[in-house]
Every structure is written in C-alpha cells, then in structure tokens.
Point group: C2
Chain length 308, copies 2
C-alpha cells in the first residue's frame, strides 16, 4: 500500500472508531468535512516516511502518530478559517467548515479533532507504553504553547512578532513533530531527525507565502492574497518573490542534506526533492524568473543530492 | 495541605511550566485568565478525593490528572462563553476571556488548554507508563466525541436531543472522568467509582439548572436565565423548580450510596453531603419550598448516609 492510501485508511478507521452513531450527527458531519477529502497529507506522509526509514516495527503506533499529526493540522485549519481569524470561505476547494456547518460546529469540530488526536495515541500506545510518553510530548509541544501551532497563531494577535519565531511555531513545529514522531513511533532517537523537519517546515511556509501571491483562489483551493489582506508577515513580502524562491530552494537543499544516515536514505532524499517540485512547480519558478531576470530558475536544486 | 490548595499549586506549576517566557504574552495572559482565580474546582477535588480513598501512591500522577480535568473544564467554559455560543460577558464574576482578550485569543486559549491537559499527563505519566494509557482514554472519552463535553455542547446544535444524553455528555462525562481518573492515578480499578461520578454529574447539572432560574447574575458570577434565553433543555423547565429540587436531592442520596467500600468511605460520603449543601444551599431549598408548598425542604438528604 502506498503511503497516502495507508494514511487515508488510518484516518478513516480513527474517525469511524471515534465517531460512533451515538455522536451528534451534525458534529460528525462537520468533523468529517474537516478531515476528508483532505489536502496533500504531507505531514503524515513525512511521519510515515521517517518511521519506515527507522524500521517501522510498530506500524499501528506509526499510523496513530501520523493520524494524530494530521488531525491536529486539520483542527488548526478549521479554527484559522473562522471569522475571528481569516474568515475564509474556502478550504481545499470546498466551503470551509464554518461556512458549511456554522461557527458553533466549526469551533467544536476543532476541539473534537484535537481530543481525537490524543485518543488515537492512547489507543495505539496501550501496546507500546514505553514509546507513548515521548510521542505525547512531541505532539503537545507541536500543538500548544509556548512553541506550537496555538502559539504561532497567537503571535498574529501581538503588536510585534519575530517572523522566524512566528513561522517556526505556526508551521515549523508540526513538521518537526512529523519527523520526530516518525522516529519515536519506530523506537528510534528523534534528535537526528529534527533538522529535516525544521528545514521542511520553513520551506513549506516560504512556499505558502509565494503561492499566496502567485496563484489564484482556484489553484490554491482557498482565498489568495490572505497574507497582505491580514497584514501577516510573509517571506514574499520580506524578500521579494525572487528572493523568496531562492530562499525556498536553499531550504530544500538543506532538507536533503539533513536526512540522517539510515537504511532508506536515498528514498527519503528523493521524497524531499519530489515534495520540492510539488510545492513550487517548475512552471511557477519560470514565471517568477521571467518577471525577475535575476531569480533562480527551476531545477536550481542540484539533483545530485538525491543520491544517498 | 488541603485539597483546594494542592490543586491550586498543581495548576500554578503546570501553567508556569507550559507557558515559558517565549510564549506570546497575550496568549499567556488569556490562558491564565481562563484558569485563575477559578471556581470551586469541584472536579479536580473529586479526582483527588477518590485517589486518596484509593491510597494515592503516585501523587504527582494524581495531581496531573486533576490538573488535566480542570484544564479541560476551563477550556470548555472559554469556548462556551464565546459569541457563537452563549455570548456571555461574565464568568466567575469577572469578564469572560473573549470579553477581556478578544475572540481570537479566546479561541486559541481554549485550544491551548486542551493541549496543556495532555501535556500534563505526558509529563507525569513518564514515570507511570502502565497507568498512562487508561488515564488518557478516560480523559479523551470525557472531553471529545461521541460522549464527552464536545459532543454535549454539539447536541445544542441539533434539532432534537435527548435531555439525559445531552447532560450526560456536557456535564456528566467530566464528573465520571474525575472519579475514574482518581482511581486510575492511584492504580485502582475505575469501574467501582463510575456510578459516583454519574450521580454527581447529573446532580450538578440539575443544581445548575435550578441556580440558573433562582439566582441573579451577581450570585452566579455569570449571566443568569441562560437556559431559557438559549432554549436549552433544563431540569427546572422540565420538572418545575420543586420537582427539580426533589430530583437533585435523590441524586445526591444515590451519590452517597454509590461510594464503594474503601479505606476512607466515611470521609468520602461526608464530602458528597458537604458538596450537596454547597450546590443548593439550605436557604435556596427554603425559598423553593415557600413558593411551592409540596416541595421537599432543606435537610431532605438523610444524614445517616454520611456514616460509612
């Protein structure tokens, strides 16, 4: 089974298990809408890929960690889209949860998904109690305060915020959790996998900033131009489009270099490169290059790096 | 140290530990405001009392469970008070979190408190991995869907809801978690403690319904008359004030009878009676009796029950 299919199946099982027929039907529908059909599932795929690189000897625990990470991500999207934050009507090309199900159920769906993330860990962790506390600490650190998603989003409510601290918390933390939890679920030391998560998290944020400027709502599946509209710090704004692209490509190169020595290092590095091309497709690089002649062109990431 | 002081200290330690100076200052302030000065802390006191009755041989785990339960409760209050639900300006005699800190930080504070509850468990559970998964399952079941607080609140968004199912989820579940987690933290079987939590949870909800009708905002520390205003199911509405009082007193009697045989059974039953008088004070019983001559009078709960 490929990674995406494995994740979809694990998510489906978790939601079916947690949302029994005794749950309020509208809440169930809103929670499902928050999770399915879903986006690229990049974070849980990263978690699975790292677990596989570390042997994946407890696949049900890996699945739970991947599921928990995706549920925490989905919860943050539901709450971010709400009127008191982005007031976004569109997510993944569909109406956002509050748009379709109303604000009360959007609020509760996010809460329910956070709890469900830990429920997944509790269920799978019963057979691996020795690995559970480390995994929980990783997930809590990525989700809460002082350095996780909640804190990242809260920096938007402060009069001053450091761009890097904001982005590390809002986006980077869950990428770090994805690589670290993948290692922990397989019984490996997470420390060696931390840098990979940090580089990918920052690259992902920079790519998001570029895409927010370059793409229309149709291509994004959500409203475009949100950073400027909400006066949010953005790499595209800070460095210009060409500078942001160059920075993105450097970060992806750093990510490739950060993959530690392990059984499947080559495959892992190839996956990073593949993700790079998905995040900023070659034609987008070309469009930036045409508009700003000094910008790096597509293919700037040296493909030699893919060879372990 | 008395139980309330022990809980306040454990909460203070958890917030200090989780909210390091690197957290966004306004988020920290909003989260603290959600937790302090706090209400009666009845749920964590119940958790501690049951743990003590079961030997309390891992007090740091008991503290974490009590803290987690109170944080989940505080999170639910912050989100319940928000404009898309009760739109309540007042909580515990002070401005509600969204009133003082704005909606975005109220939303994030609730999320952050939910995560912090599990963070507390992860930290304390590292030394007791064998007890952690059961505790996590208890907490998740009380907080999420299909039968926890989130589901309870979500029944308010359904066109039809069973009153007992709604109340069991919205209020009862966390009382059940309080007694069960107290037992689990002390390494005891939680099943024998379940009924006590169920009776107390239902009694607490009925008392809340009575107080919502009988008391003014000043005495409640929050807006009164909320059930009628939001067309919420209420025992006072269903049974009349006298009927609701009679039902409350029967539930407290059931709670007294439900305390299982254990080392401190007498103290535990006395605590239940004490809580009964706190929830509906004798003068409130007298006021209901005066208005409706057939109503039970104060002291209806047979005090013999306090003797183990």
């Amino acid at each position: 089974m490929d990674m995406l299919a494995r994740i979809q199946q694990a998510l489906e099982q978790e939601l079916t298990c947690a949302l029994s027929p005794s749950a309020p039907p509208r809440l169930m529908a809103a929670m499902r809408h928050a999770v399915f059909p879903g986006g690229a599932r990049i974070r849980p795929q990263l978690c699975l890929a790292v677990a596989q690189a570390c042997g994946d000897d407890a696949p049900e625990l890996t699945d739970a960690a991947a599921v928990a990470i995706e549920l925490l991500h989905c919860a943050s999207l539901v709450h971010d889209d709400m009127p008191c934050f982005d007031d976004a009507d569109l997510r993944r090309g569909l109406p956002s949860v509050h748009k379709l199900h109303g604000e009360p159920l959007a609020l509760l769906s996010g809460d329910g998904l956070i709890v469900m993330a830990f429920q997944a860990m509790a269920r799978a962790g019963a057979r691996h109690p020795g690995r559970l506390t480390g995994l929980l600490a990783t997930l809590c650190s990525a989700a809460g305060a002082p350095d996780g998603i909640v804190a990242g989003q809260a920096w938007e409510c402060e009069p001053r915020a450091s761009l890097s601290r904001y982005q590390r918390a809002k986006t980077g933390a869950l990428f770090v959790a994805s690589t670290c939890a993948g290692a922990q679920a397989a019984g490996a030391d997470p420390q060696g996998w931390r840098s990979l998560g940090e580089c990918l998290g920052e690259a992902y944020q920079v790519a998001d900033d570029i895409r927010d400027v370059m793409l229309g709502s149709d291509e994004l599946g959500k409203p475009s131009g949100q950073d400027a509209q909400h006066h949010r710090p953005s790499a595209a704004d800070d460095l210009g489009l060409a500078g942001a692209l160059s920075y993105f490509q450097q970060l992806m190169q750093d990510a490739v270099d950060a993959v530690p020595y392990c059984a499947h290092r080559g495959a892992m590095r190839a996956l990073v490169l593949q993700e790079s091309a998905r995040l900023i497709p070659p034609d987008t690089c070309e469009r930036i290059a045409s508009a700003t002649p000094s910008a790096p062109r597509a293919g700037f990431i040296p493909l030699r790096s893919a060879v372990a």
